[in-house]
């Protein structure tokens, strides 16, 4: 069992959680992930490590409450236990030797882009960060990102932060300004990574993406995380999770990732309905007499 040391919301849907896992903390490097199982009946879910503190023996993750397992995990409080926590899995990102980098995070991907940007900065690279969110209410980690890069540009889909557009618009603008990057790192939803990669391909800028596909064991056993990279079958857990964005078949990945979407949606709805029922008569979830 693994004890939760800290847990608090970053936004309505995003949670920061710090877990005591000294052996994992000792080994964790940028880009690696863990798999956890919240309780005895939980599923195994992969999360990229957002921070590891070997001295304290803790590993932090940031997640959105979007699926059944993350909804349940999000209800856990400091002091609660997590049944299983295994890692660090995947390969450490190769970030050495870059002079000028643009690190792009999309939504929750910023939590993973942050340690990459920090590593690059700490190792002497000039780092621009671009972060994209749907709206200003779900912006996370703004001060932290600011502290590890030279410039931070935050874009929102709806323009609610006064800066409407996609991360690719911001990247294009940077390039148009004359910025030269020897690497672009893009971490976020596959659709974002796809379009960043398409853009950087035009300019011939090396692009690294971090994939988080369907996965059970995280050690190469299930093959659920297979992705096509440069026409070859790769397992994200043992060969990745970082790959050359110009070689990844994102369309295939997006279709595979949707495998359990319907089942997942149904389970979440059932779970939320159950929660609402439990919360008692003071908060009726349905008009009276119309119990579904």
């Amino acid at each position: 069992m693994f004890r939760i040391k800290e847990a608090y919301p970053l936004t309505d849907i995003t949670v920061y959680m710090k877990i005591e896992a000294p052996d994992v903390a000792k080994k964790a490097g940028p880009g690696q992930f863990i798999i956890l199982r919240a309780d005895e009946t939980g599923e195994r879910v992969p999360f990229t490590i957002s921070e590891a503190d070997p001295a304290e023996g803790t590993v932090s993750i940031i997640f959105q409450k979007v699926g059944l397992s993350t909804l349940k995990l999000g209800e856990k409080k400091p002091g609660d236990m997590i049944a299983d926590f295994v890692g660090p899995l995947g390969n450490v990102s190769h970030l050495d030797g870059y002079k000028s980098a643009c690190v792009i995070g999309g939504g929750l991907g910023c939590a993973i882009a942050l340690p990459q940007a920090k590593y690059l900065s700490d190792h002497g690279a000039n780092v621009d960060m671009i972060a994209g969110f749907r709206n200003k209410d779900i912006i996370i980690l703004e001060p932290q990102m600011k502290s590890v890069c030279d410039t931070l540009t935050i874009m929102t889909d709806d323009g609610s932060n006064g800066n409407k557009g996609l991360v690719t618009d911001a990247l294009k603008a940077k390039i148009a300004e004359g910025k030269k990057y020897d690497v672009v790192i893009a971490i976020g939803p596959p659709i974002m990574m796809k379009f960043v990669s398409l853009l950087t391909k035009e300019y011939g800028i090396k692009t690294i993406v971090s994939l988080n596909p369907i996965m059970i064991d995280g050690t190469g056993m299930c093959g659920g995380c297979r992705v096509t990279v440069g026409g070859e079958r790769k397992f994200a857990c043992v060969d990745g999770p970082d790959f050359d964005g110009h070689l990844v078949d994102f369309d295939e990945l997006m279709k595979r990732n949707a495998t359990y979407r319907d089942i997942e949606g149904e389970c979440c709805n059932l779970y939320k309905m159950g929660q609402q029922r439990q919360s008692g008569p003071s908060k009726p979830s349905q008009p009276e007499g119309k119990e579904s």
């Binding site: 052996d23 994992v24 080994k27 199982r37 009946t41 939980g42 599923e43 195994r44 059944l68 397992s69 349940k72 049944a83 299983d84 926590f85 295994v86 890692g87 660090p88 899995l89 059970i216 064991d217 995280g218 050690t219 190469g220 056993m221 299930c222 093959g223 659920g224 297979r226 992705v227 096509t228 079958r233 043992v238 295939e252 279709k255 595979r256 949707a258 495998t259 359990y260 089942i263 997942e264 389970c267």
Partner: protein, 463 residues
Amino acid sequence: MPNMQKTKTPMPSQDASVRARNWYEVALGYTAEDMANEAARCLNCKNHPCTAGCPVAVNIPGFIKKLAEGKPTEALRVIEETSSLAAICGRVCPQERQCESLCVRGKNGDPVGIGRLERYAADHGVSGISGAKKEKDSGVRVAVIGSGPAGLSCASDLCRMGYEVTVFEALHKAGGVLSYGIPEFRLPKSIVGKQIESLKELGVEFRLDYVVGRTFTVDELFESGYEAIFIGSGAGLPGFMGIPGENAAGVMSANEFLTRINLMKAYREEYDTPIRIPTRAAVVGGGNVAMDAARCAMRLGAEEVSIIYRRSEEEMPARAEEIEHAKEEGIVFRTLQNPVKVNTDEKGNTVSVTVVDMELGEPGPDGRRRPVEKAGSEHDIPCDTLIVAVGTSPNPLLRMTTPGLESDRKGCLTVLEDGVTTTRPGVFAGGDAVSGAATVILAMGAGKKAAKAIDEYLKSKAK
């Protein structure tokens, strides 16, 4: 007087039409009368050829004699002299290729049902494994990587020799393929759990959720005080066919499918792991894993389940009994057909698999007749779930992270003539990690052999 009945006493089992929709064990086990009848068929031959056919050399006539005397506990203790996993082996060993193939009774009729009797002893006897612990530990620590059959048997023997043994398991549950692979209806998980509990009582320490090669490397295990290491990490890396559309939603490895079901209990309401209930499932492959996957798909509630195999039934590597069981449960066998393409709808979901008919040509290097495509014979088999069970190979993680540990082209660890000593001093290996995918009992045999080699190595080192 021995019972000269020519046929094996039949195994009571669930009716096929009922069991095809539940997860309970198929074979119910002998009654006391069945056992007495079958045990009396053993001639107790002087040179017991059966024992020679057992990878862990169980004293077979010895335990059957105890059973015939009505002493299942004593029978179990005889088995436990050389095997710590009787309840498992009695269920999943291919006895027809091992002990039973050498039984004298098999020359004129059926051999003695050794596996069925072993299971009886294990299910009805009281285990003495935990009592076999050495009074005094040697204080010498040995690490075992992987808690499957190879690791369990190695750990058990080392512990009995007085070593302090820690078993490292990557998953959250011990047992390896016994837990994630072999389904409940062939090997109830409560039985696997019981056998692991008895090893814990013996003194074996289990550390779950540790991926050696990631959480710790082999080098770090040595640094932290382990004096020898056994690698029993199995052959967990699934193979795929390499055909177009294979990465479509709805196509998965048998490992993934079986893990969702057996380890993650996706078929049970209270567990969160999702699984798509197939309407039509097709399984590619002809081994035991393919049979397990097909029978699981049936139990999930599929309307039709078929096995697609490129050779004929005769060449199928699965046990005859498993093939028989699958057929009884209504699984359709499409032999001499080979998948060439997976077809999807606009969302990328699998809707069918295109196969080509095959015929058997000249024997290949392995002696089996090679399947050859029949030109122009392509046709589609509708399916929303396609399970790929075309074999597995050893996981690359340990050989990638352990300097000095050599492996062959197929990823199997290289061992010296003794079969268990690797190219890295102090590191031993056995089971599927060395042989490639094989059986539970062969892995157990290798684990035992390695325990002996480790004991010799540590003793010579101490001198």
